[in-house]
Symmetry: C2
Amino acid sequence: MDPSGGITVEVRVELKPGVADAEALAIEKSLTLLGVNGLRGVRTVRVYRLTFGSSDPDEALRQARLAVDRLLANPVIHQVEIRAVGSPSARTSRAV
Amino acid sequence: MDPSGGITVEVRVELKPGVADAEALAIEKSLTLLGVNGLRGVRTVRVYRLTFGSSDPDEALRQARLAVDRLLANPVIHQVEIRAVGSPSARTSRAV
């Protein structure tokens, strides 16, 4: 729970293995040119922290899954992890 | 360590509290319009997973900090967390 009694859910969206991550490739190239040594690969991940007014973690996770289905991820290319954070009984749900 | 002996470092970049997160505001508005109930706030976070060939976690963390300083974050607006993942002695370094 956050200080005001709400629940924060972290939605972690990343590309499935095998899906080209163009941004990550550009970053990898740049970092090598900028003098970062030993880099062998880069992947990018988007995390959305959704705060809900509800104090029911199950309801917050249900709404977060709705957010993923309707906007935050594309099941064809993304794998998603949904996790209640800062709530007493943080639990994880993973969809690949 | 990853299966081939390298080390993966996760760099988590988010806006400092008080810095407007325009993308998050747009997402919050859209999600509410799309029927997600009870949403009180959204924040976005960028995570970069950097894999290094080195098997020395300290060296990997040092290179990751270099990557942050040179490209991945702007200290004026971002707070950064750097964490070795999947290595036996994962350790965290936080810069606010």
